[in-house]
Every structure is written in C-alpha cells, then in structure tokens.
Symmetry: C2
Subunit: 586 residues, 2 copies
C-alpha cells in the first residue's frame, strides 16, 4: 500500500462506490433528494454481512433476542418517550430567499464555534451569536428570521382520519420498549436480558450532508439491555475485563485536550469512569466489532458525552468514534445508560404496568399499624363535627398518631383534640414475597450505514496504481471469483461447474469470463474479492487450480476436489492463504 499517494479517500470511495455499485445518492434521475442513498449489489451484500456480524456477536454469542417492529409509529409513543418535545434542531430561514439552514451548523462553519459549544446554545444565544458574527444567508447574503426549533421526525397520518398523527421512528429502541412486557415473557421473565432490532429509521434532517455520514433514512441497530439495578453485575465481564478502552473523558474535552485514557475495562469500572458493568461490556464488544470490520484499535476511541450533548433519556453516554480521512473522529456507535427513563415514561403515559417482579431471597414480614376511628365514641364528643374528625383520622399516619398518644396523651387532628379512647390502633402483619420495579437499561446503538462507510474506508488501498479493497474475509461482499483462462476447450464449462458447486456449499461466488486475466484480477481487487480461482488447461488434465490472494497477489496451486473443505476453513479463519495449496513462484 502506497502511503505517499495523497488522495481524499472520501472522494475516491464515493466515486468507486458509484461506479462499482456499493452505493450512490438515490433518485438521481429526478435531481436527487438529500440524505437518501441506494445500495447496489456489492453494497447490499457488504451491508448485510456487517449486520450479520452484529447478529453473530450479539445474538449468537451473547444470546440477545432479536425482534422486528414497524417504522411508522403512533404519535403517543413519541410523545411519551420525549421525542416530540426534544427531538429538534435549531433552524434559521433567510428573509430574502427563504432558504432554511441548521443554525448550529452555520455557527460551526462561519463563526468557528465548536459543535460542543453550538449544541448547548439556546435559541436566543444562537440569534445573538449569528448577529455578533454577522452571519448571513450563504446563498444570497440575506438576513435571517429568528431561529426556531424544527422537529426532525417525519410526520404522517395513519389511516383516513386527519387526527391520527404518526411518526417515522428516529430510533428502533422505542419499538422494543413499548413491547417490553411481551419480550420479558419471551425471556421467561428473567433479568438480565437484551433485545436487538436492526431496521430502517428516519430523521428529517434540515440539511443532510456528508454522504453516508448523515442520512435522512438509515439503518439503525439498537440493542436494549434490561437489568436489575440492584444486581448490576455482568456475568460476561471476565471475557473482556482486560480489554483496553481508549476513553476521552469529559474533563479532558472541556480542556480541549484530545488525549485518551487507555485503561482496561476492569480499571474503568473500578475508577467509576464507566458506571455500569454491562455498559462497559458492550463498549468492549463494540470495539471488537469494529476490529472485525477492519478498524484497528488505535483508530478507535470512546468519548464521554457532556451534559448538554446527551440525549434527554441518558444518564451516562459514550460515543464510539473512528478516525476517518476527511471527517476526522466520527461517531459509529452510541452507548447510553438510559436507566428506567423509557419504561417509566411509557408506563406513566399508557397506564400499563411495566414493572417486573423480584422475589426476595426470603419473604419480608412487615408490621403495619392501622388507625380506625370509633364513631360511637367520637359522636358524643365532637357532635356534628364527628364525621370530619373521622375522615381526618383515617387519612392520618398511624405512626404519628401512636407517637403523639405516647408522648402527649392526645393527637391533634387539625384543631380537634383526639384521645386514645376515640380510636382503635391495631397492628397488621403482612408478608411481602418480593417487590416490583422498573428494570434499568444500557443501550449500545450502531449506525449500519456508518459502519458500512468505515468498512469501505479502512478496506481502501492503492497498490501499483490500482485500487484494492482489502475487506476482512468475513465481510467481503463476494468471497470467491472464478475465472476460466479461455472461453473455449471446456474451460468455461469447468468454471461454471465449480461456481455451481461452491455456490451450493454456501459461498458467494462470481464467475468472470470477460477480458484478460489481469483485467479480471483488477476488477476483483476493486470489488474486494479475497480469493480468485483460475481454471486453466492443467485443471482439465490434472484437476488443479490456481488460487490468487487479493492482498499479496501471491498464488497457490491446489486440487479442485479439496476446494470446498479448504475454503470453508479459510473463511472460518481456521487456516490462512498459505495453507490453501503450494506456492507458485512468480
């Protein structure tokens, strides 16, 4: 790989992506629509492979449950969750050309105010800053109307009645929270358990930009992990406790210091830098995921979110960031400790009981006092006020009444002096088998499209002036290329046969028979196909093929009959390229 070649990777990748069909901007024939992309055949497979890697790590290995719920959501859900109130961005409109802009982005671009600072400004402060820095409409130099908050959810109407507001979900998390009771039943009513949802989400950005980085429609992977805050231990912590988490703390960020603290998961917990064991566990898993899609640990970090940066539901948040060529440090996942905020909000708004029952190790016996007015005694003393006194006594705290009798010999119910003989104080024993509580939640949330872009950027390399997309073999959109040396003498049929066999074995195989072998290799490198198998005349006479490695361009010679087994082992990472056959000297 030639490190001296200075190209803007973002531009190079977007060009390659359009040409080879990884992705491109949607609706180009209609002039495009900002914030929407289409994934072509190579991109769709790469994206699916990345999403399946998430499933592999979280669903298969950790045992998280997967669910699927709708994108269109009744208004009540996002009213309860706080999104209708909070999911807004400041917007200004030009008085002259009526163009609208995201106000905080203008301040970042034209007043060099950091995003950290811009995000915490009120509308008034934004207006003052715009005026102070003399920021005008970038398009026509017009003045701006006062900034206003713009709700960045897509709004629609469900069914034929105008009142039934619906929103396009900006996160998949609420689809999990509102179904908590059923999901808890599926987890056999045991904490802790987690639920993941991978699906499209919508955010009606004011001015989307940066290709795949800020989209209006994207794929989100929200994992909600429910646990008992009184039993916060993570049973899987041992597996990750020595992993290093590179963390940029709030205190450093406030000092504009970019030095990360490199500490183990164990240390981060001991020093209370990360509050929840499960959150630390998922951060370590997120780091592992990024390594598996091609991002080395030193290009990753976690930044602690400042108070005003955190979502409205979050108690402690970290963003996982990856260093990108043009965009610098860029968020790829968020790790929020959502506490019982969401379940509590839905419980309150819907009236449904979303608490779980926790049995005590042994039942707790409690004694409760009860004060009962004796009307036959109250009547003669208080006459027509007796009823009122009775009511006051019924509402009184029995402990307070009893204490007053003991201390003073009477109890003042409002202005009425009550004597011990006026009431019956009895004691009731109750046995509590357990209690009900709302589980706490930690949430790792990944943006599939960003992971996809990151995978492209970290796979991108140039060798001998040719682009080589060095995807890790487990996410490569095409696993194997099959190339007949010539389209005659039965080589083509042999290639077709091999393609069929390997496809039946479950591999993703592409047969390419057009152009010189060199051109086919170049095309394959650009598509990131790890292995290329060439069918030549020796294949017919001796049953051997050449296998070529995408990254080293080395070749080995191997028996065609051994291919299925060898290739399975190779893609399961049990063997490496050198083990696929005997090296061909070039």
């Amino acid at each position: 790989m030639d490190d001296t070649t200075k190209i803007d990777k973002f531009t190079a990748i977007n060009e390659l992506a359009r040409r080879r069909g990884f992705f491109w901007n949607s609706y180009e024939i209609y002039g495009g629509a900002g914030g929407f992309v289409a994934y072509g055949p190579l991109g769709t497979r790469l994206k699916q492979n990345i999403e399946n890697k998430l499933r592999d790590i979280f669903v298969k290995q950790v045992g998280i449950l997967e669910m699927e719920s709708p994108i269109i959501t009744p208004g009540k859900v996002f009213e309860a969750s706080g999104h209708v109130t909070n999911f807004k961005e400041p917007m200004v409109e030009c008085v002259k050309c009526n163009k609208r802009f995201r106000a905080d982005h203008l301040l970042e671009e034209y007043a060099k105010i950091s995003s950290v600072d811009a995000e915490k400004m009120s509308l008034d402060e934004i207006q003052q800053a715009l005026e102070k820095h003399g920021i005008k409409c970038p398009d026509c130099q017009g003045d701006f109307n006062p900034p206003q908050q713009f709700l960045t959810m897509f709004i629609t109407t469900i069914g034929p009645y105008s009142g039934a507001t619906g929103y396009g979900r900006p996160e998949a998390a609420q689809g999990i929270f509102v179904e908590f009771n059923r999901l808890y039943a599926m987890a056999r009513e045991k904490l802790p358990f987690g639920v993941i949802q991978i699906g499209h989400a919508l955010r009606n950005e004011i001015s989307p930009r940066q290709g795949l980085i800020r989209l209006r429609e994207f794929t989100i992977c929200d994992l909600e992990f429910f646990f008992d805050p009184e039993e916060p231990c993570c049973r899987l912590l041992k597996e990750v406790e020595n992993e290093i988490l590179p963390i940029l703390l709030c205190e450093s960020r406030l000092k504009c210091c970019e030095d990360t603290l490199n500490i183990t998961v164990r240390e981060a917990l001991d020093r209370k830098i990360v509050k929840s064991e499960w959150q630390a566990f998922f951060m370590a898993m997120a780091k592992k995921l990024l390594v598996e899609i091609g991002v080395p640990p030193e290009k990753q970090r976690f930044i602690e979110k400042l108070t005003w940066e955190k979502a409205h539901y979050s108690s402690q948040s970290f963003d996982q960031e990856v260093l990108l060529d043009r965009h610098g440090w860029t968020e790829v996942s968020g790790h929020a400790y959502r506490t019982d905020y969401d379940l509590g909000s839905h419980m309150k708004a819907s009236g449904a009981d979303m608490r779980v029952f926790k049995e005590y190790a042994k039942p707790v016996e409690t004694e409760q006092l009860a004060v009962k007015p004796v009307m036959a005694k109250l009547g003669p003393v208080f006459k027509k006020e007796a009823g009122k006194v009775g009511e006051l006594l019924a509402k009184a705290d029995p402990q307070v009444v009893k204490a007053a009798f003991e201390k003073d010999g009477f109890y003042m119910a409002d202005t009425y002096k009550v004597l011990p003989e006026h009431v019956d104080i009895s004691s009731q024993k109750t046995v509590e088998r357990g209690k009900r509580f709302i589980p706490h939640v930690v949430e790792p949330s990944f943006g599939s499209d960003r992971l996809f872009y990151v995978a492209l950027e970290y796979a991108y390399g140039v060798k001998d002036d040719r682009v080589v997309m060095s995807f890790p073999r487990s996410i490569a959109p095409t696993q194997i290329g099959v190339y007949p040396l010539m389209n005659k003498d039965g080589l083509e049929e042999k290639a077709l046969e091999l393609q069929k066999v390997l496809t039946q074995e479950g591999f993703t195989v592409e047969l390419d028979e057009t152009g010189s072998i060199g051109r086919r290799y170049a095309r394959a490198d650009e598509a990131g196909i790890p292995l290329g198998i060439t069918i030549d005349y020796d294949t017919l006479s001796e049953g051997t093929v050449t296998i070529r490695d995408r990254d080293s361009w080395q070749q080995v010679r191997s028996q065609i009959k051994n291919l299925p087994e060898l290739l399975h082992k190779y893609f399961q990472r049990k063997i490496n390229f050198e083990n696929l056959g005997s090296l061909v000297e070039s």
Copy 2:
C-alpha cells in the same frame, strides 16, 4: 396429526404466536394501531429464514442482483409511476359518527357483491349500490356521504420546506426502476438481468384487518426482471418446463368456475396462456418456493387477473394463491408483466434516457436524402419571399421533393413552385450499429408477512392434544434444542459446551434446562425445533447423546463427536433423521 380436531387455525395460530413470540399486534399498551405487527425472537428468525430462502432461490441460484433503497420517496417518483393517480380505494364516511369505511368492503360484506365485481365499480355505481341495498353505517346506522377516492399512500414532507411532498413507498419496485441506469451498468450492460429488493413498504389502508394478511406496514420482495422483448426466450426454461402450473383462467373466473387448468410450463407457453417465458419461469420458481416453506402443490394455484383487477402498469397478471383455513384462497405473490410502462414513465417524467443500446448482428446501412436550398438561385426568382421558401424546403421531406421533381418536374412548397435547379438534392449514407429501446419487465412480487403466516399455518398441527409446529427444517427458527437431563453432576456444563460448539458451527441452538424433559420437548415442539439433543449420564461415560425428532417423536442414539458433521448433512437435506444414529426402542 389429528384431522378431526376442528379448530379455527387462524385463532389458534394468533394465540400461539402471541404467547411464544412469533408475532403480535404492535403498540398494545397504547390500545394498538391497526395494521402494524411486531415480530418476536422466534418470528424474526422465521421471517429472516423465509427471506433468505428467497435470496437463496433468486439471488444465489438464478443470479438476480439484490439492492436496497429508501422507503421515503420524493413525490415526483410516484407521480411519474402513476401511483398518485391510481393508488386509491373508494371510501365512505358516516354523516352521523364520521367513521370511515372502505366502500367496496361494505358492498362485499352487506350486499354480497363479489370482490371481483366490487373492484370494478365507479364511485357513482358504488353510491347507487349502497343506496339500493340500504347499507348504513355498521357502527351507528347513520347515512353515508358520497363515496370518494382515498389515496392509500402515507404522505409526509421531506426536509424543512412544506412543498417537498414525500411518500412512503407502497412497493419496492420503483426504487429499482428509478435506479435502472446504474443497475444496468452493474449488470455490465447486458440483458436480461434481474434486480430484487426485500424491504419494508407502506400502504395506508382505510380499514386494515385479518392480522398478518392486510397490513399497513409490511415487508415486500419485489423482483424486477429486465429483458429485450425481441429476445424473450428464458435460458433457464428447461429447468422448469415440465413443472405443473395450476391456473385458474379469466374465462373460468367470469363463469364463476373454480376449476384450475393443470398444465406444464411448456404447455402454458405454447397455448399462450402465459405470454412471457420469463414470467412462466418465475411462476414455476414461486411454486417451488412455497413448497419449500411447507405448502404442498395441491394447496397452490395461480389466478389470472381480470382487466379491472390488474394494476395500472400491468399487461398480464397472475396471483399465486394458497388455500388457508379461514381466509380461503389467499394471494401470496403477484406476477405482473409490466412491459416498458415504468421505465417509459420515468424516462418521460425525468428526461433521463433509460433506453439500452442493442447492437445489430451486422450494421445496417441506410441512405438518407437531403434537400438544401440554393439561395443564389432562389433569390432572383422569389425576391423577398426567398427566405420563406428556403425555410419551407428545409422542412420538406426530401423523398417527397425528389418524387415531385421526377413526376411533375417541380415541387410546390406551399404556394411556391420550386424547380430542380433551385435546390441541391444529395444522398447521405449512414451506418446504424444498433438501436436504443426500453427493456420490458416481468415482476414476481412476494409479501414476506403472508409467506410467514402461510408457513405458520402449514406447520401447525396437533398431536396428542399438543401443538407441533412442523416447519420444514430449512426454515425452522431454532434448529436444535439442547437439554441436560439434570442440572447437576456436570450434565449442565456438558450441555453448555455442546451448545457453544454447535453455535460456532453456525447452528441456531437453544439450551433449555427448566422443567421435566417432557415439558421441554412440548415447548420445543410448539416452537418448531426439528431436533432435540438430550445430555444424560451416558453422555459423560460413553460420549453418546439422544436425538429426538419433533415430528415422529422417535429417538436415536449418536456419538457426540459426530454431531457437527451429521447435523450439517441433516440440515442440508443430505440425510434424514433415521441416519443420525441408531434407533432407540420406546
């Protein structure tokens, strides 16, 4: 299976689905929202397995390209496609309670007008029929306002400007059509080729009903296959030509006759019952798909759509139907010959050239005449009219001018008499290497949620009063259950170890250690787990396990070390249950 047990499968399945987490109505805690469902862990896996079966058949075996595009779509796209004009349903509103109903459904329910007849009625005819049959509001007996057309797309606004109308896509097909030029490039500019998209789609139904059968948000699998209408042969036809297609023809349907014609694909084409070879091919593949998810051929049919039933873009359409317990014959896929309608519409609306270039076998040479006025000659004759005469001649058909000279010796340009000497007639040879044309499209389109429901209903059976979900092994949401006989003496650890090994081998494995073995088997049968592996004391001493078959309840004894290989073969359908070990006599 006990066929005498008369239960309504729809009710039984919905109850089971809710309880075991296949699916349920979304947003129950907020009183529900019609037409939206949530899939639980078992359902999500079953649905994914069905969608992956589609990928397996169409993407892996047939070589169809897969793509992914957004759900939110700019208004222009659905204006051009005809949806804004046509994607409507007749609706009536009660004058008293303001409740709204789908008018054709009212006529079907209360006037016993067939859906075939109701669908072709105009708004006036609907009103007359409602009045004639005295149909009132089913809720309050009020009268109806005149029927109106209701657009059944979800409407929203894209970005911060009120003018930018967007729709939730009611089909994934348009996402393919608008990106045709790029997709064609990815197919290396060769016809025929196909593109499939599997993703959420939205239809704002007036009154959704029937659980999974009519949803407002659902998963659609649209496959658009592009071909040259002058070369309509299907290269894969041989593979399916002897498959039987059970077809209910238009002529039978009009006679209310339900007899299907059972003919081979070859015959259907020869007798021009199906117009396009590719369409017939996809119908045969659709039949195969349904067999693979558990629907026997005799429970399937294709009905030819009547003129007024067809979508606005379709030249010939068939619906694939499956016989369901409560709903009768129910559509699971549509097969439309969309011709060049969609690409032509987008080409016209967007101005983008969506034609493909077709090279002639050999270039066609054509000779073209050109008439050029000789102004030096026209001037003296026509004086100040000369310019006008020149213009007329430039616009004239050279063939007509030449013929007039040959026949009459002059040519009348309007009222001006032009002589041969006034013009130069020359002949130009042009060589045409090929021509441009709009490809034709056949579309198979599947509803993933309906396939899912159909799979549930055909898997459903009752044995000894217990529900057994006999999913075909290739789509079972959980493949293997692992059960330690006791939770002591190391049996639990052994089970955990086996679960880990099998998970790493790629199987979907559930470990169940709660309750008696009998109860665990019953739970597994209900979840449709094909194989159950029990770890007992012999496992520790002899390394053997018991494997139980979900459907026959038979058991075999097998070496634990052979399991991965045996199970791979079993799930690849290379061996059957009997081959997994030696039968245990019960």
